[in-house]
């Protein structure tokens, strides 16, 4: 899923200060799971902003809506009839949701309420970790199911480097050396002979280096 983290309330108060009618727009997908932008967080943020405004003598109308997703036209259409009632929308979906909402409703400012971090997994409640950088050319089949693009600080394809010590990366004692993990996993799988094969130079044009990307699937387009 896409992992996001809450923005500090001070920052949100500052960016929404001039809005008299504000819609807080949540998303039922990834940001709900990482407890940053779901229905619960919409309610908490709306209550806090209402109290803050009242306390400062400002009169504001703050409404709460949480859509199934903000990255699909059909769900975003659900607010078409109400969007005119607001001076601004505070979207607490990921950056994709914020942008898609802004693209759809050109006349209304759409602000981000979370910081979108990465694609990751829930290691345990309250701990989300990066697992994929969407490089566009998955090589997990040859690395024991552990991704050196997202988990190695240097994105090495023939690791480890000299900075690997006691299974940790030189950038921090808390970061596992991805290549140590890969070797350990290959040992467990009995495929260590594959480790000896050199990986060819990666074509990074499918990563961000090739500019904004898109997937075109004519077989499913109507």
């Amino acid at each position: 899923m896409i992992v996001a983290d809450k923005k500090p309330i001070e920052e949100i108060i500052e960016t929404t200060r001039n809005f008299k009618r504000l819609l807080i727009l949540g998303c039922n997908e990834c940001v709900t799971v990482c407890e940053a932008g779901g229905k619960k967080e919409v309610g908490i943020l709306a209550s806090a902003l209402r109290m803050n405004a009242l306390n400062q003598g400002r009169e504001v109308k703050i409404d709460e809506i949480t859509l199934e997703r903000q990255c699909d036209h059909e769900y975003l259409e659900e607010i078409r009839n109400v969007v005119d009632q607001y001076d601004g929308i505070l979207s607490i979906a990921c950056g994709v949701g914020v942008q898609f909402t802004a693209e759809k409703y050109q006349a209304t400012p759409v602000l981000p309420g979370v910081n979108t971090k990465f694609m990751g997994a829930t290691e345990k409640r309250g701990l989300w970790v990066e697992r994929c950088q969407g490089c566009g050319q998955c090589i997990l089949a040859t690395t024991g199911g552990i991704c050196p693009v997202s988990r190695c600080a240097k994105r090495l394809f023939n690791g480890p480097c000299g900075g690997s010590g006691n299974g940790k990366c030189e950038i921090s004692k808390e970061v596992d050396c991805a290549w140590q993990l890969i070797i350990d996993r290959m040992k467990a799988l009995g495929t260590l002979e594959d480790y000896e094969k050199l990986s060819p130079i990666k074509d990074w044009s499918t990563d961000r280096a090739g500019g904004p990307r898109k997937v075109v699937r004519e077989d499913v387009q109507l």
């Binding site: 108060i13 619960k40 309610g43 908490i44 209550s47 806090a48 109290m51 009242l54 306390n55």
Partner: protein, 117 residues
């Protein structure tokens, strides 16, 4: 036992403090409560294992948020006792009332009055 505790304490019963969410605490302040205390079972004694730990985290979240929006984080507090400790309940009610009285009224209540005037 016939213990007395301050009459301005209003009780909202929940099956477990794990039911109390951050939004419930915030709504209480939005509606004008001067303080909120969440009283749960002793830590380690939760019938549902972790209900009171969840409540403690949510109280901390609410407290942090209330501090940042100028209502005051000290207006919310979590206490623990066992179900047989009536005198301790009364003691916590007195303690919370004294704490909130010292802090004064909820600024939201005052702001609403000003807005209505």
């Amino acid at each position: 036992m016939r213990l007395n505790y301050p009459t301005n304490v209003k009780i909202i019963r929940v099956p477990c403090t794990g039911k109390v969410d951050t939004i419930h605490i915030l709504r209480a302040f939005e509606k004008g409560a001067d303080g909120v205390c969440v009283i749960g079972c002793m830590e380690g004694d939760c019938h549902y294992n972790s209900g009171n730990f969840r409540a403690r985290k949510r109280v901390e979240q609410a407290s942090h948020l209330l501090e940042q929006i100028g209502i005051g984080g000290e207006r919310v507090k979590m206490f623990n006792l066992s179900s047989g400790e009536g005198p301790r309940f009364a003691q916590y009610a007195v303690e919370m009332t004294e704490r909130v009285t010292a802090l004064g009224p909820n600024p939201i209540k005052l702001a609403r009055k000003r807005a209505a005037a």
